[in-house]
Symmetry: C3
Subunit: 348 residues, 3 copies
């Protein structure tokens, strides 16, 4: 059994990564090829010709089909053989490639690895800040040689910023604000609410206003392996609450994580924001800074993965600060074991 | 049990690769050292000193013997200890290195990996065009990280030329000529006879004559893992037939394949021809072109091998075009299981 | 079961390699971090934070403690948690990292991997020439990708010098002197005594005197995996004997070997001498030369290791010249199986 949930939507790529030429990417242990039809609709199929297993991603695009580069078997965009290597040979209609449910949503391409009959698009995690009016969103992709759950642990605990990001965004004050952790159905929420504090420079610049602020950092885990972090400030007295806080400036750190294997992950990260939305210079500067911060995490996470492999007699321990990550792991474990059908899912 | 036939002759090297200094090469999973005695006769032995297993190929040549570079044990060319590290110590006559039957034939060095009692030189595959009067032969060596049977599949099916060699020798017309496949004892023959066609530029230049030609491509698999492809053209009306076609110009693409391991192969390739035999410029140009074509195959075959390893739930399928390769695999399987003694072999 | 003795002192590092910043080194299969407290005393502990297993060697030194770079757990130099990531959280006193007995002796840092209750400092091998008045000692470190026992074999047999060190220190005459091998408790001694010979240039220069000399080479194996080689010359008639030979010039080749894994070793080598002790130029020249000689051994040993792995059907054989190495392996095997407590050890 794998360490991930099969019957779920995973981010396979940024929407802009997938185009007419096939993109090869191993997702949840399966070699997969992604491309778009002429009408821009998505195709995801196993990246192996059903004839002699050459990766189809090495093939030649013909209309919406892919012709294998080895012997020329033509596979249509539904994964069915459309033409044999010898054009006059009758096509064996049983000859097909496994295709995967795939969807464009929130600027990402989502894929469903498990039972396709269960692939309800309504189960795609609701990353609404990535695609809502009044918001702008950009980010990047990096592969990390670590178990995807280590990255979830990392994102559900903001105390690591003090040490991992000492030279960039770490601030000892963050450690002092109390944290509240709770579950909402299959989601896990870690809330840090900092009322009436001095706004740090980044947020003061975004708010364009002097004075004390209420500040928040709310990490939300959405299965199978996404974390969105609601961050921002509002002027004191504007009425911001944990439940509702659109009175100031607000952003979401978006983290979509997809297992490549038991020991490597695809990491799609970005920032959605509702301020300075028409300033591409802000977007570019912030993306560069955020990339630098995440590179610090990559170094730690890959060292942690190697250390886990080299110390098979030792186990991870959880402290108070790990409550969010631990609860997320409990959710993963529960869903993984049950492989719940959509009908069995509690309402979001 | 290995995937190859043990009791057979395999090409270990080009004849010119083996000289007085030992050549180390792993053949059918066994580390082997090859060299020539002062009289130019061949030696093949396990590449490990019987004392402390240092590769003997790192040793020092002394007459026809090899002195181990570690402690100086002297091994004669029959694999027997001839002198101990301390010269006065009596030699243990039981101390020996496994030697392998080895032979010079058809410009190659052949080795017999299995039971040496069965190593009948008459069983060396008859690659006569490599060493016959009126013919010239040259080629090269490349290691390919793939199962040797994938390379046999490749060579016994010429339809892949259209796609793999699209930019070099591929021609859509080749796909239209009918193919006939049959077995001859332990050999498999795939014949494509193209009567009365326009000669392609290469063959017109070789024939030095205008007009329509009969053209042929006849692939022959010779166990354990050799493929020779009889190619050429003769003027229409000259009387060329599938059985006899020396009326025009003729060549043989020579492919001798030797397993290194289950997932890597030695590939010795070349071209023998009976035209322009005294033109070394032709030889050099053709070898360079052929090397470029085979580099295209190497890229495909190594991608195929990796894909097979990454998709353990999928199997190779065979179409009509694979009939030659499939029949060759049946022969390999039959001989591999039986490990037939020479007496059990049907006449060639 | 490992191939080495657990309940013994191994060299972990040169004393000068270990300082205030942690040094990471895998010893007998265990990832370990070494550093010195402010008072220069030694600390050795498992190189993994007990919280999320990040290597502690990536951490931040605070006083004598190490703060983990991930979440800031503070580990004191006894391996106990001293401060939680959230400073106000109560410290779990059961939270600790395995520490290892460690000692400074003979210019090396020694570590005890097995049962710490048995870690008697009197069991540290007596490498007295490295730290005695009237002697000087220097050397270096190299990692070798081979089983540590292959290196012991190499050092307990001086006949390999003729071939491995043909271009450097090898001399055919060495092969002619008789060798005597015997055990002394858990130690093994190989003695070569060469009375009344012409001194080779190196030793004549060291002796600063003309005339015939008595020369010796006495290899001594000290468990778990150290070899010291007593070498030197004395003028004929000065009274040097195998038992007592301080009449001329004398040196010790020091070899401390520590398994990293079953197939890789740490090799700490050097030369201690009682002549020209105040000449650092001599020390530097000799160290450079000795490094070149050992590089020749590294090439042989790594080739031997690979050959052993590639020839699983073949075994190492022992000749007369291997008697010293074989006896050392017998001692290792005996101690390894018994994991003798100090009380069970015969007097040195």
């Amino acid at each position: 059994m794998t360490t991930w949930i099969d019957d779920r939507w995973y981010v396979a790529a940024w929407d802009s990564e997938v185009d007419s030429e096939p993109l090869a990417r191993t997702i949840c242990g399966e070699p997969i090829m992604l491309y778009r039809r002429l009408d821009r609709s998505l195709v995801a199929m196993r990246d192996a010709c059903p004839h002699r297993l050459l990766p189809l991603s090495m093939g030649i695009r013909e209309g919406d089909s892919i012709r294998c580069r080895y012997h020329g078997l033509l596979i249509d965009s539904e994964g069915r053989a459309a033409e044999m290597p010898l054009k006059n040979d009758p096509v064996n209609s049983a000859l097909c490639v496994r295709t995967y449910p795939v969807a464009d949503r929130h600027r990402f391409v989502w894929i469903w690895i498990g039972d396709p009959a269960k692939a309800d698009p309504d189960l795609i995690p609701d990353l609404w800040p990535c695609s809502s009016a009044g918001w702008t969103f950009d980010g990047d992709y990096v592969r990390i040689a670590c178990d995807y759950r280590l990255l979830i642990d990392n994102l559900m605990d903001l105390t690591h910023e003090t040490y991992v990001h000492e030279g960039s965004i770490g601030q000892p004050e963050l450690m002092e604000a109390p944290i509240e952790t709770h579950a909402e159905g299959h989601e896990v929420v870690v809330t840090r609410w900092m009322p009436g504090i001095e706004a740090p420079p980044f947020w003061r610049g975004a708010l364009k206003q002097e004075g004390l602020v209420d500040r928040w950092q709310i990490c939300r885990f959405l299965p199978p392996s996404n974390v969105i972090i609601d961050v921002g400030v509002a002027p004191v007295g504007a009425g911001a609450t944990v439940e509702s806080h659109d009175q100031g400036v607000r952003g979401f750190v978006i983290d979509a994580i997809t297992p490549e294997s038991e020991s490597a992950s695809h990491y799609f990260w970005g920032m959605a924001r509702n301020f300075d939305v028409d300033d591409p210079g802000f977007t570019a500067r912030f993306k560069r800074q955020q990339g630098g911060v995440f590179a610090e995490d990559v170094a730690i996470l890959e060292a942690q993965q190697r250390s886990i492999e080299r110390n098979p007699d030792l186990s991870l321990r959880a402290f108070n600060i790990d409550r969010g990550g631990m609860k997320a792991r409990v959710v993963i474990e529960r869903l993984r074991k049950a492989q719940l059908s959509p009908a069995e899912m509690p309402p979001a």
